[in-house]
Amino acid sequence: MIIDVYNKLTVLSDSAKYDVACTSSGVDRKGKFGSIGSAAKAGICHSFSADGRCISLLKVLMTNVCIFDCKYCVNRVSNDIERVAFTPHELAELTINFYRRNYIEGLFLSSGVIKSPNHTTEQLIKALELLRSVYHFNGYIHVKAIPGADSELITRLGLLADRMSINIELPSQESLTLLAPNKTKESILRPMGLITAKIQENCTDLVKYRHASKFVPAGQSTQLIVGATPDTDHKILTLTEGLYKKYHLKRVFFSAYMPVAENSLLPSMDTKPPLLREHRLYQADWLLRFYGFEAKELLDEQNPNFNLQVDPKCNWALNHLEKFPLEINKAPFEMLLRVPGIGVTSAQRILMARRNSPIDFSGLKKIGVVLKRAQYFITCKGKIMDGLKVTSDGTIRALMADQYKLPSPYPEQLSFFNEPFITREDVQQCLTGQI
């Protein structure tokens, strides 16, 4: 029997791997007597795969059988591959045994659409119920909501999970119609809206009745594919911003498209995944969430795509040289955040340290500011850095460009593990960055 599980695990993790969400963050939950497991708000990476991505959850599909025919997906009905399914029992055994050995932080369960969206959702509920009530699993669970499933089922599923996600994948209705003929904007956004509403409703319930069960306490996330369609960065980022504002999503993930099928509507099989573009989007996403930027400050109709040479924050600074140089000992927090080379932690530290005594360049270095980048944009006690020559912004551009080579995560990133609100796991997730 276990041999069988080995094969299923291989097939079902192989088809789940293109989902890039891997975080286990967003909720703190203590262990319980009689149960196994807990959850850590910051998230915990248990390993890193050969592609440098964090492994936190046992990421598998319940089944790779699917009646839908999304052109960009390996599981599409028209693809001739081996189809298998876990039984709820097999899945629970696997999760608990991995968890006990501390291989994982929990389960990330997704599924192809088997028979119907409702039937699939019922299968997911069965598996999670077994895990939660029979195996007393108290660790993290991220579950996929299936587009088109009934509200009542999605609600039941949400009460068993910590996080729910529903992937938009394609940033426009046109792309959906072309590439995911069985899905519509409506079938994706309706459950997303439902989850948002339920989370809010649940918050008030929890205030009213202390023992109300929690509905996806770690919030919801989604994923957008980058590079499968002609949609611009501007479109993707504006959509992302809307999702944060309107649906209060915890995260929007971006996934550089890996060609999995020969199709005239898709990039050819030998297309390299646009990793640098994906990286730029993550950086911009960071700017939206933590640095107080708005999408329209970063891109517009005239410049709809990110500059691949320079990161979005630096790009913004170079286009707004009139706002610089900034005096480190006076500038407000929001402006410090806009200096290339100053991250959220360094900005906070600057505020703290300058209350004590004025800061000079050597002090900034100790604080953790990346002077190599920041030097062009700041003064300390009214002076620019010794020996710095600024001739034209062309020079600056040249100076800055070579510092952004993908995909080495910036050294600065690693020293930022004490971020109060950027979770550690977020930082560790490859291809995101403090900028």
Binding site: K30, A50, R53, K272, N356, S408
Partner: protein
């Protein structure tokens, strides 16, 4: 060699001992240039001054930290002592002197060399211990979970609350090979003990099967087209790999036995530190087969 600036303190390596060094320095109005734990060899012309550990003096210093500096500073110093910084004694010493002079705002003096270095060391400790929350790999032996780690810092005291909470119903042991210590959790009680040597029994077939499944999952989940070993190395440096199942090709270890402990005099004692936080240490605790395992 012997001018006043080269004053050396030698202490017993315990946290309390270090507090006594601070006491001594204030009482004698002198500043040592080195504070040496027993693990560091003395040099030929060494004229170190031995500082006796005295509970009461240590308590006076320790208890004055939250009052004269801040509770955060006290926590910070405790963490500082768990770091692997080779100069941690002098850093803590200088930090406390600064703190007693400037009060609570010492924690904000981020551009000061001492504060900055001690913070760096503490960040190294906390980030290493955060990594181990994920990188620890247990093997199941009967009803007991056992893991081996090789950290640079003393991470066990920081790992203890996390694992004891998560695995409430389990009995487990995390053995820190670097420092010869182990965290043992059984019957809802956590203990840190000194362990000289640990030899593990053969694992059973179920354990081997789950290791195989995990390795297969690990391999499968990587996307080939995005291969990026450098990135992996940044987040998970090679030094962690030796004790991680996914990199272990040789399965099945030798005969097992948990060595009797307590004979060895601890090099650095964490006892005092832990008595003040939530853990209890009994250095003469003996791990016997019966204690840990149902046989």
């Amino acid at each position: 060699m012997l001018d006043g600036t080269d004053l050396i303190y030698a202490y017993d390596g315990s946290f309390e001992g270090l507090m006594c060094c601070v006491f001594e320095s204030y009482q004698r109005k002198e500043i040592p240039s080195v504070i040496r734990p027993p693990s560091v060899q003395e040099t030929l012309f060494d004229t170190a001054k031995w500082i006796e550990t005295d509970e009461q003096k240590a308590d006076r210093v320790y208890n004055s930290i939250p009052m004269k500096i801040s509770p955060q500073a006290q926590e910070f110093v405790k963490l500082g002592f768990l770091t692997c910084d080779p100069h941690k004694e002098m850093l803590i010493f200088r930090f406390l002197r600064l703190g007693f002079k400037h009060g609570g705002k010492v924690m904000m003096m981020l551009t000061d060399d001492t504060v900055c270095s001690l913070q760096k060391a503490v960040r190294h400790l906390t980030s290493e211990s955060h990594k181990f929350k994920g990188f620890v790999r247990f093997s199941v032996y009967g009803e007991v979970l056992i893991a081996v780690i090789e950290p640079k810092n003393y991470v066990l005291p920081l790992l203890s609350p996390h694992f004891c909470d998560r695995y409430r119903n389990e009995r487990f042991m995390i053995y820190d090979k670097t420092h010869g210590m182990a965290l043992i959790f059984q019957s809802q009680k956590a203990e840190l003990i000194f362990v000289e040597e640990l030899t593990l029994p053969d694992v059973d077939s179920a354990e081997l099967e789950y290791r195989r499944l995990w390795k297969q999952f690990y391999k499968t989940i990587a996307i080939e087209g995005r291969n990026n070993p450098r990135c992996r190395m940044t987040f998970m440096p090679k030094r962690y790999w030796s004790q991680m199942t996914e990199f272990d090709e040789i399965v099945g270890l030798a005969q097992w036995q948990v060595a009797e402990t307590g004979a060895k005099e601890p090099q650095t004692s964490l006892c005092t530190l832990d008595a003040r936080s939530t853990y209890k240490i009994s250095p003469d605790y003996k791990v016997t087969k019966k204690d840990l395992f149902h046989v």
